[in-house]
Subunit: 307 residues, 2 copies
């Protein structure tokens, strides 16, 4: 949306983001103008104990892999953690309440001005027209509920490792991209590409067991990955004389099923791998930047894949 | 519906069917009471030339395998052929008109008293509440249209041989029944059994390419016939604490997809053959008489299968 400077001070990554200095939200010219108001709201309302509890909440979220509003994670931002502590009072209460959350859970500072359809709705105290939790995906929302409940039971912090294990009898195909695109650009494109390929595979009668996007590519695990040479192609209804004539002319072996002419036609792809290789060659359905970079398939077993 | 005597006279199969002698259709006590009225109607209305044309029509129907109202064929009865000749006037006209038939084609002697939803509706001239063509299946109806059109073009009689050829890369499984059940009892039961097995295979994620019932059994040709060991089982929504607890207790490895708990469970059947063998052992979904007779699988390639 606007430029900013990126650098390092004593081993910490630093972003310097310019913004307009405003007093009221109505004066906002750019979305980052809101940030100083966020800082002001939190500093004015948070006790010292709550600052510690916020740190604990962030640590917990990091361990269960739901912390971070960037596109790679689509989880909870730092500001969201602060709001949760302010609203529920303490770390323990956040966990207790989160374990009971429902889809479209609402947390309202002030009043609701708009309708939102996100899994989690936290009305921003400095801008009541905004859902501060709009970037939280259904997945991360659900994981937070699930692990909050688990924490209440076990009373211990545990790191969640998302090791990938192939299932017996499936076929693994991994697409690797040779790119140094920043993650906030990369991940939406990986997901878009994944969704397109998934739909294309299913249109060609293959079946996906699981799929996953990760730092350097996309993984597909297939349940149905090889098919017979031919498929049955349903043609016109027998009553439709004109189209039946065309169909008979086009296909040399025609048969009747119910009241439709049918024939066998050769499949475009007999294996899921051929199907994906075809898309790689054409770069059909790939994200804008992913169209341009090197892309290759690996299908050997991958023991571990963290995201 | 009622008993009859079956025998042979000079190499011809003979059925002697007793019925009540009636003058008007309102006096009918049994469905066969109608038959003498049919004979009377045809004899009173048909010319000598039309009798020959009826023989030609029957011969044509036999060659294209749509002649016979028995359950094995579900095609055109002899009476239906006579009615078609009477209605359209000649063999040539029957063919010309049939080539233009539509779904729910109506041929009305007298008036329509009821609504029918069969593919072909021929109101019986001796009983206007009856569709004389109710036993004609959509398949045979369509085949008659198709081959009528072909005859108009080629002007020649040609026997249709329904040779069965397996497609490349599919798997063939043939169920054989050791039975001497009469065909009118056998075929509805074979179709019922076929439909049940088909649904059961699909419920277990296999895919059928083609299927066929024939004199001594059922053939399944499979497009997807082997699957991975495990499948993904979707459990309760993450919000549903009670059911989540039960789910976690029951399955040792649980993961979250969207807002649902999921796990991997072992498939009941990894191959379509195992699936069918299981049904044979239990005789689940089999036709009444087919439950009792010997049944075995053959999966070698079958070159020819006539029905």
């Amino acid at each position: 949306e606007h430029p900013y400077v990126n650098g390092k001070i004593e081993n910490h990554d630093i972003d310097i983001v310019p913004c307009y200095k405003i007093e009221k939200i109505e004066q906002m010219k750019s979305s980052v103008d809101r940030t100083p108001l966020h800082t002001k709201f939190v500093l004015e309302n948070m006790s010292e104990k709550q600052k510690d509890d916020t740190r604990i909440l962030k640590k917990f979220m990091k361990l269960i892999n739901v912390y971070g509003s960037e596109f790679k994670i689509m989880g909870f931002s730092g500001y969201l953690c602060e709001l949760l502590i302010l609203y529920y009072g303490s770390f323990e209460n956040v966990i207790k309440e989160a374990s009971k959350w429902r889809f479209k859970q609402k947390i309202v500072f002030g009043k609701i001005e708009k309708d939102f359809s996100d899994p989690l709705i936290i009305i921003d105290p400095v801008d009541s027209s905004r859902n501060a939790a709009s970037c939280v995906s259904l997945q991360k929302f659900s994981e937070f509920i699930y692990y909050s409940r688990k924490f209440l039971k076990d009373k211990k912090f545990e790191e969640i490792k998302t090791e990938y294990k192939k299932s017996e009898g499936t076929e693994l195909i991994v697409l690797n991209f040779n790119t140094d695109l920043i993650e906030d650009l990369l991940f939406p494109q990986l997901r878009k590409t994944r969704d397109f390929i998934k739909g294309y595979l299913e249109k060609n009668d293959f079946r996906i067991y699981r799929s996953k996007v990760f730092n350097s590519g996309i993984l597909f695990e297939l349940e149905v990955f090889e098919l017979p040479k031919m498929k049955i192609h349903r043609g016109p209804f027998v009553y439709d004389e004109k189209n039946c004539e065309n169909f008979i002319e086009k296909h040399n072996k025609v048969f009747i099923t119910g009241d439709r002419l049918c024939t066998e036609v050769e499949r475009k792809f007999r294996t899921a791998k051929e199907c994906i290789e075809f898309l790689i060659k054409k770069r059909e359905g790939f994200g804008k930047d992913l169209k341009k970079v090197e892309c290759f398939i690996t299908d050997d077993e991958i023991k571990e894949l963290y995201d």
